[in-house]
Amino acid sequence: MSDILRTENLGKVYRVGKIDIHAVRRANLRIKKGEFVSIVGPSGCGKSTLLHLMGGMAKPTTGRVFIEGIDISKIGDSERAKIRREKIGFVFQRFNLFSVLSAQQNLEIAMQICHNGHVDHQRIKEIMSLVGLENKLHHKPLELSMGEQQRVAIARALINNPVIILADEPTGNLDSANSYKVLYLIKDLNRNLGQTIVLITHNQEASNIADRKIGMKDGTIVAPS
């Protein structure tokens, strides 16, 4: 199986005043097509920073990131934006939906951005059905439960057929029942659709749902990668 995502000696340093903070140190990862990988570690260990580097949301200080063989670490903002919209789906802890738009419209925006304004309404219905929200197309986020909002966010991450979904603490704002539903939805996406997924979590139990676990501590990968 080919590598969907690969990092080589990836590092990120933040300068705060006169102090350098090494958020990520020499991370070497390979994520193969169809894999479901979790990265687990305590809060502040650098997992989210690693995810942002992998997803092209931040530029690394050292090292490289490859998405389907393309080195995204040195490219400009416009090219990284292109990679994000065509190849990556993000799921955030805070859902990050547009509160002024309905669930359907949130997915439409993602499609418009990727396909130059074109929207495939049939696909939207299919994806919303996949996440179990076919009856909530016209509901705004405030009219949905938190679990439902996160499922809309997952649908949005899927809508443009990304090569990889990066989920940053997707159950961080959910109660245990909704966390369970969301985690198993993500599991189903991997098992049934072959979707490549990287899940970031501080919860050991949640991380067990993945096929492969990677531990992280103080910016360093400490367990098998």
């Binding site: 955030f92 990050n96 419209q105 951005i113």
Partner: protein, 367 residues
């Protein structure tokens, strides 16, 4: 189809309303002020032109704005004017401005010899009553009569004299008030004087020639052609175009600043939303387009409201101040609309540019 720009406008109703009002006020300020200026100038000019005379013969140092003149000529000049080659008829007129009976800056009174006045133009059309005959007879035009609820036989005090309204004439010709020439001369203590002479030529083709002849024969005196009265009047009012320009610029600036402030605060409030767009891979152009679209939609609604406000103001002024004209022309409607759009576009440009340059992670984490 999802439209983030429109959805945000409807969510933040108060801010949207204030921004729309700013543009509406900009548009109506431009249209009403320009319309008032133009309306006043056009009305004055057309009244002079509608007398039917070809040339106004004016004393040295005088202005085309008759109400500003305080110079008089001897009435004997009439004999010399009438014998000038090409001149058919001459009518001396003495003028005064009264603040009575409303009007923008007062009302112009013409002291005339009725027959001679008719000879130079003949367009003073009587709607009711009779022409000037008695010493203290007065004619008023229809508009002035309606505005002040004047009827035949009503008495009006001007310059400490009591005049009786004996006739109501059609509006739009010369002055709004007519009294006998000698009465006004005596009242002003200027016997045998005239403020100007209206001159009628034998034919329209001779007008230019006659005007030159008069200027040569009477050096220092001024000739004003009726047909160019409107343009000459506009030019003679120093700074009128600059005034209109200044008002327009101020109105645009105010609207631009309000839109800028509205869009700037909205982009700050929506920093996380912009972060989401960037996380989804939106280009800078997409983000700029979203925010500028919002600004332009605000402007377009504001422009329409501005048009309505202008028409309502025009109607209200027509009813409340019937002697004042507000002329709103199609060309100014289009120009005001374009200026409104321009202020909306440029007001949104900086905030959109700023938003497009935000770091996606910082934007997503913004509280």
């Amino acid at each position: 189809m999802a439209n983030l720009a429109l959805a945000n406008l409807t969510k933040r109703k108060t801010r949207t309303l204030v921004s729309i009002m700013a543009v509406a006020i900009e548009i109506s300020l431009i249209l009403v002020l320009v319309g008032l200026t133009r309306g006043t100038l056009d009305e004055v000019a057309s009244r002079m032109q509608n007398i039917g005379a070809d040339i106004l013969f004016l004393p040295p140092g005088s202005s085309s704005i008759l109400s500003l003149n305080n110079y008089f000529m001897h009435i004997n000049l009439k004999e010399h004017l009438v014998t000038t080659e090409g001149v058919k008829a001459v009518s001396p007129v003495i003028t005064w401005v009264t603040k009575k009976l409303g009007g923008f800056g007062g009302n112009l009174i013409f002291g005339i010899d009725p027959q001679e006045f008719i000879n130079v133009g003949g367009r003073l059309e009587l709607l009711k009553g009779k022409p000037l005959q008695g010493e203290y007879d007065m004619l008023v035009d229809r508009r002035l009569a309606d505005a002040n609820n004047l009827q035949l036989n009503d008495q009006v005090e001007v310059l400490n004299r009591r005049f009786t309204i004996v006739g109501i004439c059609k509006a739009g010709v010369g002055a709004r008030i007519y009294v006998p020439l000698t009465t006004l001369q005596n009242t002003l203590n200027e016997p045998n004087r005239a403020s100007l002479f209206f001159v009628k030529c034998h034919s329209p083709e001779l007008v230019g020639e006659v005007a030159s002849r008069l200027e040569k024969s009477f050096p220092g005196y001024k000739t004003q052609l009726s047909e160019t009265y409107a343009e000459d009047l506009a030019e003679s009012i120093q700074g009128i175009n600059q005034f209109i320009g200044a008002i327009t610029v101020i109105a645009i600036l105010v609207s631009f600043l309000v839109i800028l402030l509205a869009m700037y605060t909205t982009t700050i409030e929506r920093t996380r939303e912009i972060g989401i767009l960037k996380a989804l891979g939106a280009t800078k152009a997409y983000i700029v387009k979203t925010i500028v679209t919002e600004g332009i939609v605000l402007s377009m609604i504001g422009i329409l409201c501005g048009y309505l406000l202008s028409l309502a103001t025009q109607a209200w002024m027509g009813k409340t101040y019937p002697l004042i004209n507000v002329i709103i022309t199609p060309s100014w409607i289009i120009l005001a609309g374009i200026l409104g759009l321009v202020s909306g576009f440029f007001g949104s440009l900086y905030p959109s540019y700023r938003a497009a340059r935000l770091d996606p992670l910082e934007a997503l984490n913004y509280e």
